[in-house]
């Protein structure tokens, strides 16, 4: 039971009986009644109590300064618990839930984008500087890191790249032959697959696989280092993070990408061959003859060039989002997602630019 009575400046709470979550049902005291008042808590025969009741008292009294509250012969634990909760006044949080006007938000977002773009350009510049330092032999980076990342993004990616490229060749041959059959020109499937794979598809497929596989891992690794303050440690040691973290990763990808693209080209053509010989009844010798006929060294080199550019884009995106990762578990996830998404977007943009350039140069 709980009774209150107001005597001049003092509100007296008389507590008695069993005090638990149920005992304050129907009891109500408004905040206005307690403002500027002294509170006296009197034990008028408490039989037992639990934390639920103390919680309720805390809720009622939390706006009252603790020096205005006196407790008289309350059970020992109860009094202590209540005053433990009341001893530090509640911090008033001044976070407004006010929504920003629409134009403010648009403008703020535009400024944010511009800032991020500036950051990205600066990052690329830093990477180029690191490269120059490395060429002069002044960059601080461990060759062990390079070999480790190289094995991670080279040999260990061979299987998945082969598998996917084989399937892409297969599909390209199937869909192509389906259409060419109507003209009775099925044999040109060989040319379609060869030109398609060597010029662009090999590089694109490898790029997407490597963005998901290696770009994501770069972002997650470096992002976790950021969370663990390892990047701060590098900074205070005066070691450039682009030298130490980005260079080995970028070099490893730049080296392995053309080789993977080469493999992808070959596996794609193999997949096309498999489909044509087994399903479209084209003789193997014919397929090989047409493949060799339509193989063009320029296309092949343009494909490899795509691969190198994609490798650079993937490494930059992975490292950039890793380095600019926030400091909690969530932000590592965000950094990884962004690394993959931006890598793929920039690969497509780069493909467009390279195609335009080739067109202009007449390649």
């Amino acid at each position: 039971m709980i009774n209150t009575e107001t005597i001049k400046n003092t509100v007296v709470f008389r507590l008695s009986g069993h005090l638990d979550a149920e005992s304050h049902k129907g009891f109500h005291v408004s905040e206005a009644e307690l403002v500027q008042k002294h509170i006296r808590l009197i034990n008028a025969g408490i039989q037992d109590w639990n934390t639920d009741f103390v919680m309720f008292l805390y809720k009622v009294l939390k706006k009252t300064p603790v020096e205005n509250i006196t407790a008289e012969s309350l059970p020992e634990g109860m009094e202590q618990l209540l005053f433990l909760a009341l001893q530090t006044p509640a911090k008033v949080t001044e976070r407004s839930g006010r929504k920003e006007p629409f134009l403010d938000r648009v403008g703020g977002y535009a400024l944010y984008l511009a800032e991020r773009f500036g950051c990205g350009v600066d990052f690329i510049y830093q990477c180029l500087l690191s490269w120059r330092r490395q060429l002069r032999g002044k960059a601080v980076c461990r060759s062990k890191d390079f070999w480790m990342t190289l094995s991670e993004c080279g040999p260990k990616a061979l299987l998945i790249v082969s598998l996917i490229s084989f399937m892409v060749g297969l599909i390209l041959a199937f869909v192509g032959a389906l259409q060419l059959k109507t003209f009775g020109a099925q044999i040109y499937v060989a040319s379609l697959v060869t030109i398609g794979m060597t010029r662009i598809m090999g590089a694109i497929m490898t790029g997407i696989i490597m963005a998901g596989r290696t770009g994501a891992s770069y972002a997650a690794t470096i992002g976790t280092m950021q969370v663990n303050e390892e990047l701060d440690a590098l900074k205070t040691m005066g070691i450039s993070r682009t030298d130490f973290l980005v260079l080995p990763r970028m070099n490893a990808l730049l080296l392995s990408m053309p080789i993977l693209v080469l493999l992808s080209d070959f596996m794609g053509i193999l997949g096309g061959c498999f489909m044509c010989v087994l399903f479209w009844d084209i003789p193997l010798s014919e397929y090989i003859r047409y493949t060799i006929q339509s193989f063009n060294i320029t296309n092949f080199l343009v494909g490899l060039f795509h691969g190198v550019v994609f490798g650079w884009v993937i490494a930059l995106c992975g490292c950039y989002f890793g380095v600019h990762c926030g400091r909690n578990a969530d932000s590592v996830g965000i950094a990884t997602t962004q690394a993959v998404v931006y890598a793929i977007v920039w690969m497509i943009i780069m493909t467009g630019l390279i195609t335009l350039a080739c067109e202009g140069l007449g390649i």
Binding site: T51, K62, L84, A85, A90, R327, A329
Partner: protein
């Protein structure tokens, strides 16, 4: 001080084939503040992690109430852990959740309370640890000491009977560390919670410890038991004395 709440018998702990500590036998009384002390790397934290069921024991038993956590099923383990709270060394707050959400998580998991009631409980628990009004803050916005106290609020969320502390004063300044010790004492006194603390901080050990065990890394077992102050007065062996006095010579001690 009648029935012990935790009874550990002939416990061997370690990782895989490697045994870190063996033949551990001790009781923890209800309402005690029990210190597990010992040098760095001696297996204090391993013992704690075994007691809360994070790593399996090699042999022996740990009775918490009437259940042996070594042989308990997953269901029984959850029942036991509902009655205990753990404050991890770095707080282990979920960084993507506000303090209120962190404290509310176990309550939402194990009770059917209404949102309003959970809000009241969270406000009360945060007030208990001196963080009233910090509901909407995120762990990275508050200091290390505050993170520990928020972790304690989360550990206390379900009104546990036992609260485990892993190195509570690690990384805190002396004042924050003392405040946390006071808080441990106050919670022990007002809620009657049994408290088990893994630490090697001497001021904390003497300030809060009612009972303790000392883990000896060379003997690989318990080499002393009892109230830390009494252990200091009547040291049972050289290593305990040196530990409790920060390396004073055992032979030259005041007669």
């Amino acid at each position: 001080m009648t029935e012990p709440i935790i009874r550990v018998k002939n416990l061997d702990i370690g990782y895989g084939d490697k045994t870190v500590m063996s033949h551990l036998t001790f009781d923890v009384q209800k309402g005690d503040i029990f210190i597990i002390m010992g040098g760095s790397g001696c297996g204090k934290s391993t013992l704690l992690r075994t007691m809360i069921g994070l790593i399996p024991a090699q042999t022996g038993s740990i009775f918490i109430g009437d259940t042996d956590i070594v042989t308990a099923s997953e269901k029984q383990k959850i029942e036991i852990m509902k009655n205990s709270g753990v404050l991890y060394q770095s707080g282990a707050l979920f960084s993507s959740m506000s303090l209120a959400e962190n404290v509310a998580l176990p309550i939402q998991q194990y009770t059917n309370f209404s949102a309003a009631k959970i809000r009241d409980i969270v406000a009360f628990k945060l007030a208990l640890v001196g963080l009233a009004g910090f509901e909407d803050y995120y762990p990275y916005e508050i200091s290390g000491g505050m993170q520990k106290r928020a972790g304690l609020a989360r550990a206390l969320a379900l009104d546990p009977q036992i609260v485990y502390f892993d190195e509570p004063s690690a990384g805190l300044d002396p004042i924050s560390s003392k405040n946390l010790d006071d808080l441990i004492l106050q919670i022990n006194k007002s809620l009657g919670t049994t408290i088990i603390v893994v630490t090697h901080e001497l001021p904390s050990i003497f300030a809060i410890g009612k009972n303790s065990i000392f883990l000896d890394s060379t003997l690989k077992t318990i080499s002393a038991k009892g109230n830390p102050r009494q252990l200091l007065q009547n040291p049972p062996n050289k290593k305990v004395y040196e530990f409790l006095t920060r390396g004073d010579s055992y032979e030259k001690r005041a007669q």
